[in-house]
């Protein structure tokens, strides 16, 4: 590890301060969406708020993410699945201040494959949840982050 102590301390301070703030995001901001899910600082609660159920592990979801991300501010993630009747694809990062990263709707005719770039505060598990045929499936993998994306 060639990380400077100073950088680490800074990153930790920044991230620590954030955790408490997650819940303070003004309600107005999420008027038209699932405020509880996006504001929740706990992954299980966020899933509960968004889906009102727990997803089952599935080998049919392909979650592509680096095993080591040098820069937590930009982590490329691709989620795809061969399942039919996919309604939505959601991405969670367990140890982020607010674990729900994004929820993508997949209308009929659109392939169940979405790529985006996300932020990760620190080494954590990325979970992809696919809603298909009204059922929930998930797959997860860990990504190590050497420089957190939360301090900026």
């Amino acid at each position: 590890m060639t990380m400077h102590r100073r950088t680490v301390v800074k990153a930790m301070l920044a991230c620590g301060a954030l955790v408490g703030l997650g819940a303070v995001i003004p309600g107005v901001a999420f008027a038209a969406r699932n405020k509880g899910a996006f504001g929740s600082d706990d992954q299980a609660k966020a899933m509960q708020a968004l889906f009102d159920a727990e997803p089952a592990d599935s080998p049919d979801i392909v979650l592509k993410a680096p095993s080591i991300a040098e820069n937590g501010a930009v982590v490329p993630v691709t989620v795809s699945t061969e399942m039919t009747n996919v309604e939505s694809i959601s991405i969670f990062v367990a140890d982020n201040p607010t674990p729900l990263v994004a929820e993508f709707m997949i209308p009929a005719g659109t392939e169940a494959k979405v790529a985006t770039r996300i932020r990760m505060g620190k080494t954590s598990t990325i979970t992809a949840v696919v809603k298909a045929d009204g059922k929930l499936f998930s797959t997860a993998r860990e990504t190590k982050v050497t420089i957190g994306g939360c301090g900026g």
Partner: protein, 104 residues
Amino acid sequence: MAGIFKVKAKAKGGVTKVKMLAKHVMETGQRKDKKTGDIIPAKFIQELTVQHAGNTVFSGQLGTAVSKNPYFSFTFAGGAKGDELSISWAENTGTSATETAKIK
């Protein structure tokens, strides 16, 4: 207002592959100003919808953990060269806009 999205959409074999990149700070509301120590207010795109010929082909609810200058890619059935995609987005601040991009 000029568009913030740079879009590459290509129709081939009955499907259109779309790659889009937005120029946006995606401020989380969790960062502090290095000089003053004040929290920088959140400013991020929280809703995104892409339409083709009046149908929604992609939409998303985004959180603050989507990276700065967000990137999205997806593929939908239909679309032809010269068609227009309409991209609507809304920020948490209330700012919203709709812009268009041509399929190549």
